[in-house]
Structures are given as structure tokens and as C-alpha cells.
């Protein structure tokens, strides 16, 4: 039971984290009425996962040998672009709401951009969704009386991930607004850097990028096969034996996104705080 619990918790946690963040983000910018965008994205992500699971199971042919890997790699880089963009967008809000007591945003204009949160929810769920669906399905189809523990563990893993997502949502509501934006921006950048590096790793695995020797071996310190290492590898892209392209990709993304999202804007006009939506949504 423990083993299946860890697998599904690990697979579902990233989705839960992203859903928790985008829900609380909407709450914080006063767009609670727009929750359905996130819900829609999440549900579509789940549907796509089931469809992908069915496709892998029932289709066959050469397309299937490489297809899922290509989709997985594309989804990873797409998610990186999306998370970066969402971070950028949040930053605009963070600047706009600074000193604005009512933290009102121009909802009508915000709505035009809300499909981004829907897409974040979609990719968050879809990225590991098909795997989780297949895993749970496999557990259930194999079920004998002795293996019910495995099924219970698998389902429990998803439930606990959802509870953690909910806790992140609640926690996000407790933070002050600047702290909320700062904390979630850092978190999203770390997740995105991990995804970027994992995407590069995927291309290395497929032979598209030369691997070279691992730069170091920290498996003695923290093995990526261990429970903690596995979580870190899913969430932050940790590798015990990383190659140069992965490390360089990670650093380049971190520096690039850091410059984009965290450097103070010296020339920010003073009217920004007074007109919250002016710079935020253009």
C-alpha cells in the first residue's frame, strides 16, 4: 500500500500545487467569480489524461513508440512558457495592487486573460495525468483480495495530494498580498526551471541532445530513486547525476526568469499605484 501511495502522491502533487496556486491567485486578485476557468482547465486536463491513457492502451504502431514521448516533451516546454508568462502576469498585478487598498482589478479586462489560468490548470493536470490514470487502472484491473491495499494506497495518494493543494490554497489566503505574490512567483519559477531541465533530460533520453558525462554524482547524499529524492525530482527537477545540458538549462532558466520577474523596475511610473489596471493587463 505504501509504495502505490507514494507513486500517486508524487504524480498528483504537482497538479495539486499548481491548482492551489491559481485558485488562490484568483481569490487574491478579487476574481473569485472566475474560479470556473481553473475548474474547466483541470477537468479538461483530466479528460485529456484519460483519453491519452486510452490511446496508449488501445492504439498501436510506430506512432506510439515515439508519440507519447514527443507529446510529453512538448507539454513540458509548453508548461514552462505558460508558468513564466503567468509569473510575469502576477508581477504586473503585484505592482498594480501595491498600495491599493481595495486591490480592485479591472475584471472585464482581466477576464480576457483568464484562459491562461485555465491552461495552467490543464497542463498541470495533464502532465502526469495519463500516467496516474494508467497506474490506477492497472492496480484495479489486477486486483485480487490481497492487493486491495495497493488500490487503497493509490487512491489515497491522489486524495492526500488534493488535500495538500487545498492547504496551499488556504495558506495562500493567509499571506499578505506582496508575500503571496513573492512566494508563489519563486515557487513557480523553481517548478518551471525543474520542468525545463527535465524536458532537456527527456530530449537527451531520446537521443536528440548529446548527454556527455554526468557533472557530479550526489546519489550518495540524496538518491533520486528514494522517496524524498523522487519528490524533489518531480517538483524541482532534481537529478542525482545531472548532465551538462540539464544543469546549464536549469541555470539559464533561473537567471532568465529571475531577471524577468524579480528585478525592480526603476522607471515604473508613479501613477501605477493609482491606476491599478493601467499597466497590469496591457
Amino acid at each position: 500500500m505504501g509504495a502505490t501511495f507514494v507513486v500517486t502522491l508524487r504524480e498528483a502533487f504537482e497538479a495539486a500545487l499548481l491548482l492551489g496556486i491559481v485558485y488562490s491567485y484568483l481569490e487574491r486578485v478579487g476574481a473569485r467569480a472566475q474560479y470556473h476557468w481553473v475548474t474547466l482547465g483541470g477537468v479538461l486536463g483530466l479528460l485529456a489524461s484519460v483519453l491519452a491513457g486510452l490511446a496508449v492502451t488501445f492504439l498501436s504502431g510506430p506512432l506510439l513508440d515515439l508519440g507519447p514521448d514527443l507529446v510529453a516533451a512538448a507539454v513540458m516546454f509548453f508548461a514552462v512558457a505558460l508558468l513564466t508568462w503567468h509569473g510575469w502576469w502576477m508581477r504586473q498585478h503585484a505592482r498594480a495592487v501595491k498600495g491599493d487598498v481595495q486591490r480592485r482589478i479591472d475584471e472585464a479586462r482581466a477576464t480576457q486573460r483568464l484562459w491562461i489560468v485555465a491552461l495552467v490548470a490543464f497542463t498541470g493536470v495533464f502532465r502526469e495525468g495519463a500516467e496516474t490514470v494508467l497506474f490506477l487502472w492497472g492496480l484495479m484491473s489486477q486486483t485480487t483480495i490481497s492487493s486491495w491495499g495497493g488500490v487503497t494506497g493509490g487512491v489515497l495518494g491522489v486524495v492526500v495530494a488534493a488535500v495538500l493543494g487545498w492547504a496551499i490554497f488556504r495558506g495562500g489566503r493567509q499571506l499578505s498580498l506582496p508575500r503571496f505574490f513573492a512566494a508563489t512567483s519563486v515557487l513557480l519559477v523553481v517548478v518551471a526551471a525543474g520542468l525545463f531541465s527535465t524536458g532537456i533530460g527527456k530530449l537527451i533520453g531520446l537521443g536528440f541532445i548529446p548527454a556527455g558525462d554526468p557533472l557530479w554524482d550526489s546519489s550518495g547524499l540524496l538518491d533520486d530513486h528514494s522517496v524524498v529524492g523522487g519528490f524533489l525530482s518531480g517538483l524541482t527537477g532534481y537529478r542525482a547525476r545531472p548532465t551538462a545540458p540539464e544543469v546549464i538549462g536549469y541555470i539559464v532558466y533561473l537567471v532568465g526568469a529571475g531577471l524577468l520577474l524579480f528585478t525592480p523596475r526603476t522607471a515604473a511610473p508613479a501613477t501605477d499605484a493609482a491606476r491599478p489596471s493601467a499597466g497590469a493587463l496591457s
Binding site: 509504495a3 507513486v7 496508449v56 510529453a72 512538448a74 537527451i204 533520453g205
Partner: protein, 113 residues
């Protein structure tokens, strides 16, 4: 913005497709079977420096995920199916792999020499 994102997505896919087309064809195929949540054979010897293809057949009634952290491979093999997994040219060494859905029993290693 929608267009820009779609463009980025298409560029990513195009890059991957081009890279696929550019690769050398027909590396050696090595069969491996999953049965009763175990790999057979559990040890595979390959020539270092030559890419190869693992032909993984899952004879069990549940899907399995072939995973090797070192090789950066994660691939679901549905019940009763055979999947081809391309593996890059390896330096001499031992590369462990597992069946992620049954990690306790499904273990093996590739030895490149």
C-alpha cells in the same frame, strides 16, 4: 498573446520532429519481456557507444512503466503490448532500470561495455 503561445508550442513540436528525422536509422533491437512484474532478462549487455532499441513486451494484465533515471527514460507499456524504446549511445557502465509501477520486483540493468 494566444498566437505567440501557439507559435512557441508549434516551434517546440517542429524542433522535435526535425530532430527525429535527422537521426540515423535502424539501430539494433534488443527484446525484453515483463511477466509477473519482473523483467526477463534482468541483465542486458550492449556495446558501448552504439545506440540501440529496447523492444519491451508486457505480458502482464496491467500496464507497467519502464523507467531509468540515468537514461532519462520513462515509458508506459500497456498490458499485452510491445513498445520500442530508443536508447542513446552509452558510455561503458551499468545503468539500472525499474518498472515504476512494481518497483520492488521489476528491476534490471543495462551493462554497456
Amino acid at each position: 498573446m494566444t498566437r505567440r503561445l501557439t507559435a512557441a508550442f508549434l516551434v517546440a513540436i517542429a524542433a522535435v520532429v526535425l530532430a527525429t528525422a535527422a537521426r540515423a536509422a535502424d539501430p539494433k533491437e534488443i527484446p525484453i519481456t515483463i511477466e509477473n512484474n519482473r523483467f526477463s532478462p534482468e541483465e542486458i549487455k550492449v556495446k558501448a557507444g552504439e545506440p540501440f532499441v529496447l523492444v519491451v513486451t508486457n505480458k502482464d494484465k496491467a500496464p507497467e512503466e519502464f523507467e531509468s533515471k540515468d537514461l532519462r527514460i520513462e515509458k508506459v507499456v500497456p498490458a499485452g503490448k510491445t513498445m520500442k524504446i530508443r536508447v542513446r549511445a552509452l558510455k561503458p557502465g551499468t545503468y539500472p532500470f525499474v518498472g515504476e509501477y512494481h518497483e520492488k520486483t521489476a528491476k534490471g540493468r543495462i551493462i554497456a561495455e
